[in-house]
Subunit: 360 residues, 2 copies
Amino acid sequence: MQYSGRKYKFHKNTRRVDVRGVAIGGGSQVTLQSMLSVSTTDVEAALRQIRELSVTGCDIVRIALPDKAAVEAFSEIRAQTSMPLVADIHFDHRLAILAAEADADKLRINPGNIGSEAKVREVATAAKERKIPIRIGVNAGSLPKDLADGPLSAKKMLDAASREIEILLNAKFEDIVVSLKAHSPALTVEANRLFAERFDFPLHLGVTEAGLPREGSIRSAIGIGTLLLEGIGDTIRVSLTGNPVEEVIVGKQILMACGLRKSGIELVSCPTCGRCRVDVATITEAISNRLPEIDKHIVVAVMGCEVNGPGEAKAADVGIAGGDGFFLLFKEGKPLGKIREDEAVERLLGEVNRVLVRSN
Amino acid sequence: MQYSGRKYKFHKNTRRVDVRGVAIGGGSQVTLQSMLSVSTTDVEAALRQIRELSVTGCDIVRIALPDKAAVEAFSEIRAQTSMPLVADIHFDHRLAILAAEADADKLRINPGNIGSEAKVREVATAAKERKIPIRIGVNAGSLPKDLADGPLSAKKMLDAASREIEILLNAKFEDIVVSLKAHSPALTVEANRLFAERFDFPLHLGVTEAGLPREGSIRSAIGIGTLLLEGIGDTIRVSLTGNPVEEVIVGKQILMACGLRKSGIELVSCPTCGRCRVDVATITEAISNRLPEIDKHIVVAVMGCEVNGPGEAKAADVGIAGGDGFFLLFKEGKPLGKIREDEAVERLLGEVNRVLVRSN
């Protein structure tokens, strides 16, 4: 059943930064990021992957700039896409400055390896001139040397972020986004909670080195989802080993499950059990494969029996609740009568289309 | 990197119930449940599915008993398996009594449809005689009539559970487990938090009608994971439309991601990016497919570059961190030298096996 009761304190009152017209923080919609997996110097492949990510629903794309050749390729990519692009820099602060000059929309630096305070100040100056935000990307796997010794902790991750924030603020740079990522969802959650208690800079959420899509989605959903339900987090990135398009799909599902992205069709379907006298799994799969891509948010329920079936089917925009070889069809809370199992897919899709046409 | 810092308040001090020797609550390991999707009266199919669930890692299996024929089939199933079995009853309290007589290890009743106080007392008496726990399974889609009107809320779900608890306690029945499930992870989390503040009965967690495996896993991971990280939850069930074996696989991943099931190999692998000069995705897939099933918990890292690679590879039991066409191999924090990309899978698996053999 749809839940529209007490709202969580979504969208904490963070500051807002602008990434090529896409807002992060300050109560704006939680955005979805991903990162190119192809080599940055392969401009064609990079542009192709940016397009794939874009059509899948990605708002902001990050690109690794490991060397000068990558910065040059980045300039070419930049010239050919309007997608907001984040330049990801490690070790060499001069590459960050070059990226700012090459019209990056945001810089990501890592406090564990970007070097001295003076170097960070230089980056801040270059970014400030061009009004480019900087993300301080703290990663449990690459903390600054003095913090990397001994056991990991949320406090150490917070300290790594705090130091860098102080340097940027001293340089009068305030367009800061911060991330605190770990492989452990628990540690990720704890570090971000500590941060949100102390700072009002927007947070980029992610569980890092989460693994292959299967287990990585679960780890990401727990870490990111727990924080989003508390109102912590302004932009997210799911890190999965493989094609980044998968990251965007999982990210959209996390946002939808948290009630933060209300577009598309939300499918409510039961796990079925020995009580079920209709083939819910096959019908749900068939419906899922044929549901249109839409901007509006509507709920479609496919339920197997009389226990939760009528409740969920009534609460949905369109729903069916199974009996013995038949379904009851509901539209907007009203029963439309019995339908046969073999016509369930067509009848349900027909009603979905009627709801969509009427709402246009 | 592995996180062994401050522990969350896992295993809240709930009461403990016993389900055929499997403990739920009171600080015992969080157990994993699933439910048969085959017809209960197909005894062969039921036993086959129980075996599949068992080898996948399921601790407790639930079976729907919609009528007397199902109860009879349940008796046959019961006689042929040692798996703890939960009888799931709706509408007809007499079936619950018959199930108790047929040696069910636990009963699940739904306060929305089990009927009058007198009926619930009869069930309690039958369960008490046989020392069988009862789960009060509150479901947002099937609340008692007076609570089902108007908007859904966590408070209404809590009220539905409270009423039934009071009836059972009045009948001097205390072996109670409670679940409060909704399709919305936010509502599920809120209802369970309210419950845990007020009661110390063990909680069975789940997000219901979560949908097909893809989106259902994400919804379940957020709802269940958020609560587990707070120390709320004593047993879990992931509800997915499809084969229940999938529910157990996802459930295990949720428990592992929350640090609650430490067996098997935990794979840490990076999402790769334009910085990467080795084929992390292919190597990780190959390793994942060939890792042995083990009881011990060990961590294996496959990392693409020098940013987080050495940190994660060192922190793992066995790890590799990519360079330009090669990897650095680490075992238990120590570098073992450079290895070629084309030998990475074999070398890493070799070291994993050495770690496992030595630890036996």
